[in-house]
């Protein structure tokens, strides 16, 4: 089998690899990094990888359009993209943009808004407190900037991924 070019989004991060399978050995190239592993399929949802003298059990399951992968105590969400189409994925939204949209990472209730529109904020400053599962969760900004928009009010129930606050990134940071 000749190497195949593949594109994935892993936890929203785009990664380009080339992969080749010969005699049960998978060769994965990413830039100049090479991973070579003997792969054994244990079941539809479990693969055994032997690489560098170590064994890893990989569990994976299709869930809707995504593949959920567990390896070495970490869980990842992987989407395969068609190479060359440039089809946008969830990871492409941010990055280059000058506005940070801070979203609620989980469903919950807004119990406090710690900033006001127009406030200057520092990286890791708390913007909003969302209570979920009986704990107060501090939602922070990941960049320096200025609060340009607050989308929620105290007492409001929010779903996961609901935009909470917009922060315009200041030029010095990021």
């Amino acid at each position: 089998m000749s190497p195949r070019a593949l594109e994935f989004l892993i936890d929203g991060e785009p990664r380009r690899v080339s992969a080749e399978l010969a005699g049960g050995t998978l060769v994965l190239k990413e830039g100049d990094r090479v991973l070579e592993a003997a792969v054994r399929r244990i079941s539809a949802s479990e693969l055994l990888f032997r690489t560098g003298g170590r064994t890893f059990r990989v569990h994976l399951v299709r869930d809707g359009g995504r593949t959920l992968v567990a390896v070495d105590g970490r869980e990842f969400t992987v989407n395969e993209r068609c190479p060359g189409t440039g089809r946008p994925g969830e990871g492409d939204e941010q990055g280059a943009e000058s506005v940070l949209r801070v979203k609620s990472p989980m469903p919950g209730t807004v119990t406090k808004i710690a900033v006001a529109e127009g406030d200057k904020v520092r990286k890791y400053q708390t913007l909003v407190i969302v209570e979920a599962m009986k704990m107060e969760n501090e939602i922070k900004t990941v960049c320096d900037g200025t609060v340009t928009k607050i989308h929620v009010a105290v007492g409001e129930t929010v779903d996961a991924e609901r935009p909470l606050v917009e922060v315009e990134k200041s030029a010095v940071s990021s």
């Binding site: 994935f8 992969a19 399978l21 990413e30 990989v58 869930d63 567990a70 990472p105 599962m133």
Partner: protein
């Protein structure tokens, strides 16, 4: 003995109590909110009664509905589990008035130990060492400021009705005192319906050691030795073990006797736990009484061989304590890890959703107390505990190894969990050496999820996805989700796929 018990709780602890009922030949009645209609405890109980909408205040905390469910189903006793109504003296009194047995301490003892300030005063009179602190709750900012100055920073803000780390804050300087008091009051108000807070001197880098106690109505009281619960995050225990690597036999005996004295002073009966802080110099201080079955009770069960839930039910039925102190021994070592629906890579934010895949760890000395199953939708309304993994082995080192392997075998997909994080905690040299204090996690694990091991795991995840793409599994394999898993047990399918992969 009772013939029917209602369990006023949900999740893994409700399942645990239902198991004990089954073994004792007692019928079980589950209660459930609208968010829990498909929960495991509902499936396991002999009967299940709906008690209202998802918010706990409208269901699991709603006394009228729970009493009505007990009446309607003919239950004679109510097991409250932990959390919710477990330490609610008004509920215990209400049960007593209704002629229902509350499986827990008598309401007077519950009220006494549930008020942290009164509990401190009571045990102090019985000669139990307490942490220096305010002797009364206050609302005056001035009193707090003065008390903090007198105690010396850092101080700890605590909720008088507190538990489970809710409403607790460490304050290192005066400027932070006001905001900390405000946040603690808010959290305590929403968690317990009582926003009273007070201050204690903060014991730095303490170990958290607690003593399990059993007592009958006649006042016979024994202890079942200690559990060490120093591995905490945001004042919440995440890993517990028994015995504690920090105790000498002398200290163990002394703490056990002190705990028994504290419980006698409080007029306590049924199962309960006396929590202590142990400082660097081996001095211990009374922290609080947990007047309930605790999350970490299985570690004690595994090292002493005593079924604590069975004992609770026996004692609540009026039976005498059949255990004598000299008959209770610690054997081997047990560790418990709490598997929470939280994402350690994003600062432990709750991770609700559907469990798309679940593989439970198995093997000798491995116990998995679970409240979930594959396909279950984890609701957002309650504590994020999914399951507890408990292992037992002959000694601590073997137990650590067993736990690390079992955590690796515990695979949950669809939501993020703390299993992988806990595995790294168990493998950490400080923990391995038995030196964990309450600051272990903040000291060594604040940037977990952003290291070399994570990059490597990510590359392996990519490799697995690539393997699936090359072997045609990712397209044709839209199936593997709900239905494909059942197929996975078929040897024909496994063989066929494996051969196809090998030949390509």
């Amino acid at each position: 003995m009772f013939s029917k018990i209602l369990i006023a709780n949900r999740g893994e602890i409700a399942v645990r109590v239902i198991r004990a009922c089954r073994e004792m030949g007692i019928s079980s009645v589950a209660v459930y909110s609208e968010a829990d209609a498909a929960s495991l405890h509902v499936r396991m109980a002999d009967e299940a009664v709906p008690i209202g909408p998802p918010p706990a205040a409208d269901s699991y905390l709603h006394m009228e509905k729970i009493i009505a469910a007990a009446r309607a189903s003919g239950a004679e006793a109510i097991h409250p589990g932990y959390g919710f109504l477990a330490e609610n003296a008004a509920f215990a009194r209400r049960c007593e008035r209704e002629g229902l047995v509350f499986i827990g301490p008598n309401s007077a003892a519950l009220a006494l130990v549930g008020d942290k300030v009164r509990a401190r005063q009571t045990v102090e009179k019985a000669g139990v060492p307490i942490i220096p602190g305010m002797n009364a709750v206050s609302v005056s900012p001035g009193e707090f400021r003065d008390a903090a100055l007198a105690l010396g920073y850092p101080v700890m803000v605590k909720a008088s009705a507190g538990g489970g780390g809710k409403g607790m804050r460490v304050v290192g300087e005066e400027a932070a005192l006001g905001p900390a008091l405000e946040a603690s009051r808010r959290e305590a108000e929403s968690a317990f319906g009582d926003g009273s807070v007070y201050l204690e001197k903060c014991i730095e880098e303490p170990r958290h050691v607690e003593i399990q106690v059993l007592a009958d109505r006649a006042g016979r009281t024994v202890h079942l030795f200690e559990r060490e619960c120093s591995v905490q995050r945001r004042h919440q225990k995440i890993l517990e073990e028994a015995p504690s690597p920090a105790l000498t036999p002398e200290l163990r005996a002394q703490m056990g006797e002190t705990a028994v004295r504290a419980m006698r002073a409080a007029g306590y009966d049924n199962a309960g736990t006396v929590e202590f802080l142990l400082d660097r110099d081996g001095r211990f201080y009374f922290l609080e009484v947990n007047a309930r079955l605790q999350v970490e009770h299985p570690t004690t069960e595994l090292v002493t061989g005593v079924d604590l839930v069975r004992q609770q039910i026996r004692l609540a039925s009026g039976a005498d304590l059949a255990l004598r102190q000299e008959d209770i021994r610690q054997n081997g070592h047990a560790i418990e890890c709490r598997i929470y629906a939280e994402d350690p890579r994003t600062g432990f934010l709750p991770s609700a959703g559907r469990i798309a895949y679940l593989r439970e760890p198995q093997g000798p000395g491995v116990r998995f107390d679970s409240g979930v199953y594959e396909g279950f939708e984890v609701p957002v309304h309650y504590d994020p505990i999914l399951a507890k993994l408990i292992v037992w082995a002959e000694d601590r080192e073997s137990a650590c190894r067993r736990m690390a392997v079992a955590l690796g075998d515990c695979v949950i997909l669809g939501i993020h969990t703390t299993a992988g994080f806990l595995r790294d905690v168990v493998r950490h040299p400080e923990f391995r050496a038995g030196r964990a204090t309450t600051s272990l996690i903040s000291k060594y694990f604040s940037s977990w999820g952003a290291g070399e091991a994570d990059d490597e795991a990510k590359r392996l995840a990519l490799a697995a996805a690539a393997y699936e793409a090359l072997t045609g599994k990712s397209e044709a394999g839209g199936r593997a989700g709900r239905d494909g898993r059942k197929d996975a047990s078929s040897p024909w399918l496994t063989m066929g796929r494996w051969r196809a992969g090998e030949g390509s």
